[in-house]
């Protein structure tokens, strides 16, 4: 009896994915643990592993297929006893299956057909959504889910280069009609009229990747719904600068392949500060409650060509600088290769963003909801500081703390910065 390969739900927010690559072709034998395909989700590109053995009999969504719904049949694995007709019937009779449990992120979901079933329909153990009838499946099986659209709207969308995948039609049964495109056309026209002001300026219109779409919608939501307030400060990092130098030259002398970055210090320092101000180690639930955490998990902003990722250093205040450093390096590499797993980035109560390496003196960051805040760090600069009525030349870092005012007030947030200042100016206190 053939086995269904379904689009897996690789993260809690994933509703659809793109087939980035098939690593097996039709006819290939598959052993449990083989990587069958790569799926691009809203967060990352992930490998999907086989949990069953057999032959990849049929691929229903070719490489490059976009916006395939979670739990949609994407391929079929056949067993020795299955004939070609069995496979055909299996696909024909396959009813769209949706599992209510989307947290299963461990490889491709597989559904075995009921061996004893003599009926046409296949009854997997999961819930069956009676959304599609067999004819729908027949029509849709080899292409993206069908979008109802009038011929005129289709042509306008083609002419104006409008992406219809996210448009909800206002016509009967959700059919997209001309009116639904009017806003988009106006936008395009505006863009075109801008173009006319700067002659010879060629415009390229780019389709957003899933990752870019997610960043766009999350940050849009964050900036427009979270009441941010900002606290700015500056801290002298002379001792930290020297300590780091000493530690790294020690590693070098001992031939240990490790280099602690300023950022690793900042992570450790903010983690310890959060431990001391537990009010801020919290998230906004949006249902009238706030969750406070025992462990301090910190999201770190990592820039990649695909976009911004925020992998997490878990229990950061318990970890030594060297462990933080090694973990951070591994996570950054994974992020750049698009291989972060959901457990690498799900959660966290607070974020850290550092643009020091880009020679930015200071900046304000947008909170990553539902977190309580984010600290934005600038470059280390030579600065003139007045201390005990004396003018001194120091190394300093400017920072801005963005806080969700719903979770805490200015006084509490100031306390966090007081601790942060203390740990940065007295790095040895971090080993306490």
């Amino acid at each position: 009896m053939p086995i269904a390969l379904l689009m897996p739900a690789l993260s809690p927010t994933m509703t659809e994915g793109n087939i980035a690559k098939w690593l097996k072709s039709e006819g290939d034998n598959i052993v449990s643990g083989d990587v069958i395909a790569e799926v691009e989700t809203d967060k990352a590109t992930m490998e999907v592993e086989a949990v069953d053995e057999g032959k990849l009999a049929s691929i229903l969504y070719p490489e490059g297929s976009e916006n395939v719904s979670v739990n949609e049949l994407i391929g079929v694995i056949s067993l020795e006893e299955d004939s070609d007709d069995d496979i055909k019937n299996f696909i024909k009779n396959y009813k769209s299956i949706s599992s209510s449990d989307t947290s299963d992120a461990k490889g491709i979901d597989t559904i075995k057909a009921d061996n004893n079933s003599t009926e046409d329909t296949i009854k997997p153990s999961q819930n069956i959504m009676e959304e599609h009838n067999t004819t729908d499946i027949d029509n849709n099986i080899s292409k993206n889910k069908r979008k109802l659209i009038s011929p005129l709207a289709r042509r306008i969308a083609d002419l104006e280069n409008i992406d219809i995948s996210n448009i909800n039609g206002s016509g009967p049964k959700g059919r997209i009609v001309k009116k639904d495109l009017e806003n988009k056309i106006n936008n395009v026209e505006k863009a075109n009229s801008k173009e006319k002001f700067s002659l010879n300026n060629e415009v390229t219109i780019l389709k957003l990747s899933n990752i870019r779409k997610t960043i766009a919608s999350r940050l849009q939501e964050a900036k427009s719904t979270v009441p941010h307030f900002y606290l700015k400060g500056k801290v002298v990092v002379n001792s930290l600068f020297n300590e780091r130098k000493n530690i790294n030259s020690f590693y070098q002398d001992e031939n240990i392949n490790l280099k602690i970055s300023f950022n690793d210090f900042f992570i450790k320092a903010i983690a310890l500060s959060l431990k001391n101000v537990p009010e801020m180690n919290a998230i906004w639930n949006g249902d009238g409650t706030i969750s406070k955490f025992k462990e301090v998990d910190i999201s770190i902003a990592v820039a990649t060509e695909e976009g911004l990722f925020t992998p997490i250093i878990k229990s950061a205040c318990k970890k030594s600088l060297s462990v933080i450093s090694m973990e951070m390096k591994a996570l950054a590499t994974k992020a750049k290769e698009g291989k972060l797993l959901p457990e690498d980035y799900n959660g966290g109560s607070f974020s850290l963003s550092n643009l020091g390496m880009y020679d930015i003196n200071e900046f304000s960051a947008i909170i990553n909801p539902p977190q309580s805040g984010i600290i934005a760090l600038g470059s280390i600069i030579e600065d003139v500081i007045v201390e005990n009525k004396e003018i001194k030349l120091c190394k300093t870092v400017s920072y801005t703390l963005s806080v969700d005012h719903r979770i805490v007030d200015g006084a509490t947030a100031s306390k966090l910065l007081k601790y942060f200042n203390f740990y940065i100016t007295n790095p040895t206190a971090m080993i306490l």
Binding site: P151, L152, S170, V177
Partner: protein, 464 residues
Amino acid sequence: MSKFDYDITIIGSGPGGYVAAIRAAQLNKNVLVVEKSELGGICLNWGCIPTKALLRSSEILTHAKNGKLYGLEGNNNFSLEEMVKRSRKVSNKLSSGIEFLFKKNSITLKKGTAYIKEKHLIEITNDNNNEQIKTDKIIIATGASPRVLPFFKNLKNDVWDYKKALLPDSLPNKLGIVGSGAIGLEFASFFNSLGTKVEVFELQDKIAPNEDHDISKELEKNMSNKGIIFHKKTDVVKLVKNKEYELTGLNNSENKTFLFDRVLVAVGVVGNIENLGIENTKIKVKNNQIITHDYNKTDEPNIFAIGDVAGLPWLAHKASHEGIVCVEYMFDNKKIKKYHNNTLIPSCIYTNPQVASIGITENKAKALKKNIRIGVFPLSANGKALALGEPEGFIKTIFDNETGEILGAHMIGAEVTELINTFSLAIKLEATEEDIINTVFPHPTLSESIHESVLNAFDKAIHI
């Protein structure tokens, strides 16, 4: 127990009111209709239906007169009285059909005039009764009455309106018609084919002023050939009745007087808003029309207005459509979408030849600075039209050059009122030229001209 006697009360049982009533009843509402006169309103009793019955008589008469062309022999006697009798029979039959539909749908009918005392309270008065009812929602579907202009105010009981023209006591020798809209032209066509000398006065520089200029021109040519005289750009300034009617028209700052034994004035209608109690509500009125918003809402939240009383176009099918839209908005809110509300209304004139149109005219498209393609196909190149012996007219189609959107369709010729639906549907479904081009039209039919007109717009016509 509800605090209201009825979920909805509909004032007027014309094509707006009775359709709205049936739809509300289908949605299990307790419905009351108040009608002061005949069920079915003007449309069934004094408008669309009886005029079409009369025009059918004149059409058959015309065919009979042309009988020799078709190989027939015989005399062409007719009786105006019998024609009118038949048209009344048709109206009565339909009117009693509505009575049946009301019974079937358990709709309460009260005869009398309705007066809105408060937004939920209506007083119904008739000869022997006076009662008050409480209602949740109200639809005003009271229709419209012929517009009276100053020049014939004193003669308004003598001059014909459409109602009087439907019940002629004798055939006029010379009939003057003021206004070349659908009503004026249809009566011109009817009396002309019965032998009356007809002259039509129109203020604008073309007849059937709402139609595409090519249609107006073709219609004028055809009707003139049948002996009807048109006075365009002529403002009727004076009407006096002595032995005959003396009608004075002002054209090019020159007054000219014409003599008629009958005069029909058809210069539009005004909404029936008098004695309705509108002043007891928040409803706003402008130029004798009730101002309405999306879903035919008035400014009083529980009161809606549909059909002629809510403004142009004065067409029965527009009233029916609005009736359904507003009832579904009230009681079936989950399903209704703006899409429902956004529908083009086709228009038909039952002259000989007929006129039918939907969408915008060529001039309007140009005024809107649209980049257009136009297709025209003459019925003289259509086999069925030739077989019918009615090769007059053409089908004109207007497309957006870039998107292929159907912007307008304008038809003149035999049975075109039955053809326009192809475009109503195509526009509603947002078809492009490609969809029509790839449709197979049956042969031999007049509808093939639709195909050819669209093909012609894209330089692909086969038969011209």
